[in-house]
């Protein structure tokens, strides 16, 4: 008797395999966000290295005004909370409440983007002025791209949470949860960015 035959026997005699697995989509999303986070980590590392070793040309402006970004930080933090509320409401099957919270979140996101653009237009430097300016725009721009995407997705899911015909219900929470996690992630990145770019 070869090893194979004997092992086949024990292997066949195991109990029925369940066909169902727990939902692993969230797990995939978290892995993706880790990857995305590493992109930001690369940018942050580059920014900090530049700051440490590459002196700016004389007269370069690198002090930033704080009011707008502070407002933006608050906007994003509040929007995280409103998103959370939306999830809570959906869980209790209050779809229209959930929808309202979502639209409020998207609205906050849009204001964030408008403020960001406003800041861009009033900054005393342009993309190619110096190393600090370039990294500033690259970092905030890349983050702004994330916010834009997030806002679009929030609008889509808020449409999908509508009562009766919407696809997202308390039984199918995944899209909402996924976008929520993504949104918290984007917030978290902003807080780090705010500290590193504006405060340090």
């Amino acid at each position: 008797m070869t090893t194979l035959d004997s092992s086949k026997e024990i292997q066949k005699s195991t109990p029925e395999v369940s066909k169902n697995h727990e939902d692993f989509r969230m797990f995939g999303l978290v892995t993706f966000l880790i990857a995305d986070g590493m992109t930001f980590a690369g940018f942050f590392a580059a920014y900090l290295t530049y700051k440490a070793v590459n002196p700016l040309p004389e007269g370069a402006i690198y002090e930033l005004e704080l009011p707008i970004p502070t407002l933006n930080t608050i906007l994003l933090l509040v929007s995280s909370a409103t998103f959370h509320k939306a999830g809570k409401a959906l869980l209790k099957d209050k779809n229209s409440d959930s929808q309202k919270w979502l639209i409020l979140t998207a609205f906050l996101g849009i204001i964030f983007l408008i403020c960001q653009l406003f800041e861009y237009f009033h900054l005393p430097f342009g993309l190619t002025d110096n190393l600090f300016a370039s990294t500033f725009y690259a970092l905030t721009g890349f983050h702004g791209l994330h916010v834009t995407l997030g806002t679009l997705m929030i609008l889509i899911i808020s449409w999908q949470t509508r009562l009766n015909t919407g696809r997202i219900t308390s039984k199918n929470m995944f899209p909402l949860e996924a976008v929520e996690l993504y949104w918290h992630f984007v917030d978290g990145i902003w807080v780090i960015l705010f500290i590193i770019l504006y405060l340090l």
């Binding site: 169902n20 697995h21 190619t128 190393l131």
Partner: protein, 544 residues
């Protein structure tokens, strides 16, 4: 909350054309995707190999006479990029990973079949785009490392296309990595523990972690580089106050782990092949697992050993020397374990076994030169010379490509139900092994004695040794002929292999060959002893 595998089943039936056409479709079947990766990768390998032959022909004479100089640099860049991003990475990860991992974890497909298909279908267009850039305004010509400021000042269209296609390939690689992690962690058949998985799963888990952690950094870096080229920012352009060395740090933060992305899966594959053909359990399973994880952790903190001559401060040089040297320890453990797996076995000397043993010998050599290169004072002399070229070809070709061939001989019966011819296989091995060593061993000497890498012309005193090297390259090119003939003959009228020609125990062999669409007719078997070979084992199994 649960989602049903049955839903996946419906998808399969809905989306799959039958017959060979399915290999050209957006199939969601992991086995089809695996084969798509393999064939696509191999076609790119042939292209990359043709470019390599052109390079070696140019180097057969000391003057720059075969190719125009800028074309030479374009070939060099395309060769490196194609071999790394379109052949090795997609094949050892995508092809074998997709084909084997679901079997190994006892699943009917990967965790995210759609993402999986997307990841594959990103590859052919970006590869073709990369190659097409040669015919437009010339391909990128700053090497696969694309160091600025050279990459900023060379003709732009080629460099930009290079960046876009590497970004797409990186994206493909990240999607694949996420899928592998989710499949291995979350999709395991109930009752199957992590420490019972075949070693390839561990290798792919480690590799995918590296992919997920490091590839995004490369993506970010290349985005910044493209800004420098297109928008004239100055991230890496010293004329505009930028810093060239920052690019190198970011690039190698990806690209050193990338060498492990290329070789860890090969470590996994050889761990599957050796026990089967020597009829012995894999020696030291647990230490193997720990050493893979050790390599993953260390692999993330050694990148600056590529930058010892770039004006890095002394403390950094020392740290990276020590960290790099220590990678040799977990790597060494694996090699000792493999030799111990052979020891006392009943070894069948066949093509798969020969390629695996060739791998061990070549890789040990490359690892030794690697440890030498990790020593700053040693590296100062040979950095950017043919010595480094020899080192990494010993690793990438002598290591990974040998294992790819070994795996093809091993799993061809699984995939097609036909055996590959042994005679042609052994001829293939012999020519490859001789050609490979003839090509790359002399290059160590060239590097030590003053021949830098990436040159189209060189000091005439090196001509003789370069010609030996070119003859070796010619042999390597020839060696693909018996291989292709072998494949062709087997597919046409090869010997039927039966379901399990090697009497292997890992789960992919416990179904029909080729396997049915959902992998198993009934339920997935629970294989808790994937390496349960050995005479006394049959005894043990009987007792249960």
């Amino acid at each position: 909350m649960t989602i049903s595998i049955d839903r996946q089943k419906d998808n399969h039936q809905r989306l799959q054309p039958n017959g060979w056409l399915r290999y050209f479709s957006f199939s969601l079947d992991h086995k089809v995707i695996g084969i798509q990766y393999m064939v696509c990768g191999f076609l790119f390998y042939l292209i990359g190999g043709t470019l390599a032959s052109a390079i070696r022909i140019e180097l057969a004479s000391p003057m720059s006479d075969f190719l125009p100089r800028d074309v030479y640099n374009q070939f060099l860049t395309l060769h490196g990029t194609i071999m790394i991003f379109l052949w090795i990475v997609p094949v050892v990860n995508g092809a074998f990973g997709n084909y084997l991992i679901p079997f190994y974890v006892g699943a009917r497909d990967m965790a995210f079949p759609r993402l999986n298909a997307v990841a594959f279908w990103l590859i052919p267009p970006s590869g073709l785009m990369l190659i097409a850039s040669y015919f437009v305004e010339g391909a990128a010509q700053s090497g696969w490392t694309a160091y600025p400021p050279l990459s900023i000042t060379t003709p732009q269209s080629g460099q930009i296309i290079w960046i876009i296609s590497v970004l797409l390939l990186g994206g493909s690689s990240i999607f694949g990595g996420i899928n592998f992690i989710a499949t291995i962690i979350k999709l395991r058949r109930p009752g199957l523990k992590l420490m019972q998985l075949p070693m390839y799963c561990w290798a792919m888990l480690g590799t995918s972690l590296l992919v997920v952690l490091s590839t995004p950094v490369l993506a970010g870096t290349l985005i910044l580089l493209s800004f420098d080229i297109v928008a004239h920012t100055g991230f890496f352009n010293p004329v505009l106050g930028g810093n060239v060395v920052v690019y190198q740090h970011l690039f190698w933060f990806y690209s050193h782990p990338a060498v492990y992305i290329m070789v860890l899966p090969a470590f996994g594959l050889v761990s599957e092949i050796l026990p089967v053909h020597s009829r012995k359990p894999l020696f030291g399973y647990t230490t193997m697992v720990y050493s893979i994880m050790g390599i993953v952790v260390l692999g993330l903190v050694v990148w600056a050993h590529h930058m010892f001559t770039s004006g890095t401060p002394p403390w950094m040089r020392l740290f990276f020397t020590i960290a790099t040297s220590f990678i040799a320890v977990p790597t060494g453990i694996k090699f000792f374990n493999w030799v111990a797996t052979l020891w006392g076995g009943k070894i069948s000397i066949n093509s798969a076994m020969l390629f695996s043993c060739g791998f061990i010998i070549n890789f040990v050599f490359g690892g030794i030169t690697g440890v030498a290169l990790a020593q700053v004072p040693f590296d100062i002399h040979v950095h950017d010379t043919y010595f480094v070229v020899a080192h990494f070809h010993y690793i990438v070709y002598g290591g990974t490509v040998f294992i790819i061939f070994s795996s093809i001989y091993h799993w061809f019966p699984k995939v097609t139900g036909k055996m590959l011819g042994e005679k042609l296989g052994i001829i293939h091995f012999a020519i490859t092994f001789i050609g490979f060593n003839l090509c790359f061993a002399p290059q160590h000497w060239l590097g030590l004695n003053g021949m830098p890498r990436r040159v189209a012309e060189y000091d005439p005193q090196f001509q003789f040794v370069n010609q030996i090297s070119s003859i070796g390259a010619l042999l390597m090119a020839i060696s693909t002929i018996p291989f292709l003939v072998n494949i062709f003959l087997s597919v046409r009228n090869g010997k039927d292999s039966g379901d399990n020609p090697w009497n292997a125990l890992t789960p992919e062999w416990l179904t029909s060959s080729p396997p049915p669409v959902e992998n198993w007719e009934g339920d997935a078997p629970l294989v808790v002893e994937p390496y349960g070979y050995g005479d006394s084992f049959s005894q043990k199994n009987k007792k249960i």
